[in-house]
């Protein structure tokens, strides 16, 4: 309506500015009624927009993330899904000193897991420990013996990009009990945690009580499960020259070789059950086999120091150092499926990784054969096979900024 003093034509204004003139925030599309009947705050069309308070803003587009551009490329993606492993499964490394901190003071635990960042990282440094450490999973929880103390580790979910040691140091374990002697090896079997002590004893821990289970003639140093029925125990002292079998109900028996002297390397990577038989190595040229009847040398690799065994992909793998005095020292992985045919030269680690001089531990880990490899004057590496193609090029993982810390063994848990 024209006002009394208005000049020119009578006019009115219309304002559909959100947040002003009682206009609410912009709404959504309404195609249900005629466009002229749509409430002012709704729309006939809203394409590729978003809402931000009183404004209509753009919706972001897509940014190409992979490099391939075709369905047949090696990095083609069609149907992605997110899958996060709920239970941490890690390859634990037990070594001397602490990478980046000290070459030989105390001992450290590190772990590798592609589900964390950094993928390989330090977990704990026991900087004052002097007697070595042993580690095993018990009831799904990592347990560790530091000097004479059995401890339970509470695994942390540290933020992405953070090392466990930076957040927790040695504070994420709980002391459980003091042992009477140094622990050479720990292993879970039959609902118990077996502790093989250096004072010729075998103790068990049931979560509450430490019990002396057996007194041996020599220090037990290694063990493996066999047939889900026996715990097979090895000794590094040549004077022992035997294996001990502990059946699930608690009876012990002894197996001795018909010929030769069996010694077993201390730790968790020197005994394994494969093809229903027990296999052991002991820092020498021999791989021993116990088939339930006979304990004998199954394979000899000349000039080798065989330190580790693992079962993976339904085959037996063994890691060794080859030192024939004339050629440079090299590190190898051998393989046998059934103990009849042997491939000692299955994988030359030194050919892929210059300076690789020893395989301290082998283990099956997340569809890879994992090898803890000592590299001369360099950081110890974790090498992972590309799936079951264990003779091809391995993925190499190393602790950033590490010193050439030695590795004692490798445990997956």
């Amino acid at each position: 309506m024209k006002r009394p003093n208005q000049r020119g034509p009578q006019t009115s204004t219309y304002s559909r500015r959100y947040g002003s003139d009682e206009m609410p925030a912009p709404g959504g599309v309404n195609t249900e009624v005629h466009p002229a009947a749509i409430p002012p705050w709704q729309f006939r069309q809203l394409v590729n927009v978003d809402w931000d308070g009183m404004d209509i803003v753009p919706r972001g587009g897509q940014l190409k993330a992979n490099t391939g551009g075709d369905i047949i490329d090696n990095d083609a993606w069609v149907h992605p899904v997110s899958f996060i492993n709920a239970s941490p499964l890690r390859a634990w490394i037990l070594g001397d000193g602490c990478p980046g901190e000290s070459l030989g003071s105390g001992f450290y635990l590190g772990h590798f897991d592609p589900e964390q960042d950094p993928a390989i990282q330090r977990s704990v440094w026991y900087d004052t420990a002097v007697q070595g450490i042993a580690m095993a999973s018990y009831g799904g929880v990592p347990h560790v013996v530091v000097d004479l103390e059995l401890r339970k580790i509470s695994q942390l979910q540290v933020p992405w990009g953070t090392e466990t040691i930076a957040l927790a140091g040695s504070a994420h374990d709980t002391p459980l009990v003091t042992l009477p002697a140094k622990c050479n090896c720990m292993i879970e079997a039959f609902g118990l945690l077996f502790l093989l002590l250096n004072n010729n004893t075998i103790y068990t821990w049931d979560g509450i009580t430490l019990r002396l289970e057996s007194t041996e003639t020599h220090p037990p140093v290694a063990a493996c499960l066999w047939r889900d029925e026996y715990l097979v125990i090895g000794f590094s002292d040549p004077a022992a020259n035997k294996l001990r079998l502990r059946r699930y109900e608690g009876t012990y028996s002894t197996v001795t070789p018909g010929a030769g002297t069996i010694v077993v390397r201390a730790g968790r990577n020197s005994m394994v059950a494969h093809a229903d038989e027990v296999w052991t190595v002991g820092d020498n040229t021999d791989i021993w086999n116990y088939d339930g009847t006979t304990l004998a040398v199954a394979r000899t690799v000349a000039s080798a120091t065989i330190q580790t065994l693992a079962r993976a992909f339904n085959a037996l793998y063994y890691g060794y150092t080859l030192d024939n005095s004339s050629d440079p020292v090299t590190a190898w992985i051998g393989k046998t499926v059934n103990g009849s045919a042997w491939s000692d030269s299955h994988k030359n680690l030194t050919a892929q990784l210059a300076g690789a001089s020893a395989v301290r531990g082998l283990a099956y880990f997340k569809e890879s054969l994992a090898a803890a490899v000592l590299v001369t004057s360099q950081t110890t590496r974790l090498m992972l096979s590309p799936g079951e193609d264990t003779d091809l090029t391995y993925e190499v993982q190393s602790q950033a900024g590490a010193l050439s810390n030695d590795v004692r063994y490798l445990v997956v848990m």
């Binding site: 309506m1 034509p9 009578q10 006019t11 559909r16 500015r17 959100y18 206009m23 912009p26 959504g28 309404n30 195609t31 249900e32 005629h34 466009p35 002229a36 709704q42 809203l46 394409v47 927009v49 978003d50 809402w51 404004d55 209509i56 803003v57 753009p58 919706r59 972001g60 587009g61 897509q62 940014l63 190409k64 993330a65 992979n66 391939g68 551009g69 369905i71 490329d73 990095d75 083609a76 993606w77 069609v78 149907h79 992605p80 899904v81 997110s82 899958f83 996060i84 709920a86 499964l89 960042d117 992405w160 109900e249 093809a275 229903d276 339904n314 099956y364 997340k366 569809e367 590309p386």
Partner: protein, 579 residues
């Protein structure tokens, strides 16, 4: 770090003269917005299992030391990926050999024995069904000699065999376990020392197209032989099928979702509710007799509610049903009818950062040549989070390129989630990336289209319904960053009858223009009032387009203008024209 499992499909070109058709499952170790080939690891599918061109249905199930994801729908067998990232076929087969049992020379066992074998995957602690039973042998202080012990299995995950013995008709219990090797085993495990019993009989889960986890079990639907059934696994054993299923009233079961400890599954006709766990307390009731589900992949749980795609539109289910598309009801029904296959195959996801629910891609009759997605604002849908009022606000996403599947990725140890989308072209793209103005080269450039309601002024200020009004000016509250010369937005005004919607290529071809409408396309980058040169009509329509709104950081806050009485007759003489 999220493990992304992806399926590459389908063609693996010409290799050695063999035309192969295959797919690949890959795992990715998280990086920062880059997905280099070097970080991809192929996960080999089990021997004999092929991949087919469909979106897989995945369900995660965790218990104790297990952390596994179960996949169906894109594979010739149901599969799983375990905590060691092994891809395995769901269900270990039963041994095909018949065990033989004889009395041994040793001592220890007395009583009637029947033995069975079953395979075991010792890494995953998975076991298969029992073999056929052996002959019966009655022992009198003797030991057992088991023959025909399997020494291999076609399932490569299997590495051991267990012998179970039934003593005097009792349930079979584990007597021993052996890695593959011996073909004959002698034992004298006392009856009291036998291990776990094999109580449930089972076989592998039937093949299906989709799955859900509910009540500690996996449910699989979409079976070709029994399309009306949804099969339930044994409790705590998602791979094992014991024979239990629920079914529709005969229609094809197309999808399912869970809410508040209840399972809902549906056909295109009806929705059914399942409660209970075991066969004894399992009930099935008709939840909605005449409204069905649209596929399986669109239903998304958000904030203890579920956004459900039904045959009459999107609904919010929180124990009660709330229509979400009442402002687009007819449009949904029309589009669902026109592109039913698109809708049943489409996927929904909730983007927690942008707080929107997105469903698509589907074609749309108003946007030919484009793949569209329905976008629902979560801020208003879930008022307890960001606003005080419950409301529903829909928009549409559109691009030429056809997406396949989206996933919300998060780091296992925390971090902001983000959305990636796999394309039918094999490309993985991060969503919501504002800096890429071309939408990764999509021909539609993520073009903005805003069409407010038709403005039909009140004629009490002058004019009348016949003559309408004269629209003198219009302005557009657009804000863009950077130089005005870089802005590309266009505001088109059309004045005419209330049906005089603006024609703007290519999105409005179906609109019939009023003959007497007039159009003014304003130049971009100006928020000054636009003189409309006295366009007359009963209504004003406008459309704003901006092909690179995201790159130009555009924000739009409304529009306005000035109008007066309709002294300019539409199609009639100009003012002052004697006529």
């Amino acid at each position: 770090m999220p493990n992304i499992l992806t399926v590459q499909l389908p063609l693996l070109g010409l290799l050695g003269g063999v035309v192969g058709c295959t797919g690949v499952l890959r795992r990715y170790r998280h990086g920062v917005h880059t997905f280099p080939v070097g970080d991809l690891r192929q996960i080999k599918v089990p021997t004999g299992t092929g991949l087919v061109l469909r979106r897989p249905s995945w369900q995660t199930y965790n218990s104790l030391q297990r952390s596994r994801i179960y996949g169906v729908g894109a594979f010739s067998h149901n599969i799983l990926v375990d905590e060691n990232l092994r891809c395995l076929r769901q269900g270990i087969p039963a041994p095909t050999v018949v065990p033989t049992l004889a009395a041994g020379a040793g001592t220890g066992i007395t009583g009637a024995c029947i033995i069975y074998y079953r395979f075991k995957d010792t890494i995953g602690q998975r076991v298969g069904p029992l073999s056929a039973p052996s002959n019966t042998v009655t022992l009198a202080n003797q030991d057992r000699v088991a023959g025909n012990v399997p020494t291999s299995c076609l399932d490569p995950s299997v590495d051991a065999v267990q012998m179970l013995v039934s003593m005097a008709g009792a349930a079979p219990r584990v007597a021993w376990e052996r890695q593959f090797g011996p073909s004959s085993v002698t034992d004298n495990v006392a009856t009291g020392d036998l291990g776990e019993a094999a109580i449930d009989t089972f076989r592998e889960m039937p093949l299906g197209l989709w799955n859900v986890i509910y009540g500690d079990a996996q449910w699989i639907g979409g079976n070709e032989q029994f399309p009306e059934r949804v099969f339930r696994s044994n409790l705590g054993e998602p791979e094992q099928f014991g024979g239990l299923f629920v079914q529709t009233d005969g229609e094809r079961a197309v999808g399912a979702f869970t809410h508040n400890d209840q399972l809902y599954f549906g056909s295109p006709k009806s929705i059914y509710r399942v409660t209970g766990f075991e066969g004894s307390d399992l009930t099935r009731e008709v939840e909605k007799p005449d409204i069905g589900l649209v596929g399986h992949f669109g239903h998304v749980a958000v904030h203890r509610r579920v956004i459900v795609v039904t045959t009459v539109g999107f609904q919010l289910f929180d124990g009660s049903w709330h229509q979400l598309t009442d402002d687009r009801q007819s449009e949904f029904v029309r589009e669902y009818k026109a592109f039913r296959a698109d809708y049943e195959a489409a996927q929904g996801y909730y983007d927690p950062i942008r707080n929107v629910y997105v469903f698509g891609p589907v074609r749309h009759t108003e946007y030919p040549f484009l793949w569209t997605k329905w976008v629902l604002d979560g801020a208003r849908l879930f008022p307890e989070l960001e606003s005080s009022d419950f409301g529903k606000a829909w928009a549409t996403d559109a691009r030429f390129r056809e997406d396949a599947t989206s996933a919300v990725l998060t780091l296992p140890s925390g971090g902001e989630p983000y959305v990636v989308t796999g394309g039918k072209d094999g490309s993985l793209r991060e969503e919501g990336y504002a800096e890429d103005s071309t939408d990764d080269g999509d021909g539609h450039d993520k073009t903005w289209v805003i069409e407010p309601p038709t403005l039909k002024p009140s004629m009490t200020d002058g004019g009348n319904d016949s003559d309408g009004a004269i629209f003198h000016k219009a302005w557009n509250h657009m804000q863009c960053a950077g130089s005005p010369d870089d802005h590309e937005w266009t505001a088109s005004f059309r004045v005419g009858t209330e049906n005089a919607r603006v024609k703007a290529e290519p999105d409005f071809e179906d609109v019939t223009l009023a003959d007497d409408s007039e159009v003014q396309d304003e130049e971009p980058s100006s928020n000054e009032p636009h003189v409309l040169e006295g366009c007359a009509g009963e209504a004003l329509n406008m459309v704003i387009t901006e092909p690179h709104a995201s790159a130009n950081l555009c924000r739009w806050r409304g529009y306005g203008g000035v109008y007066g009485p309709g002294i300019k007759r539409r199609g009639g003489p100009e003012p002052g024209d004697p006529g």
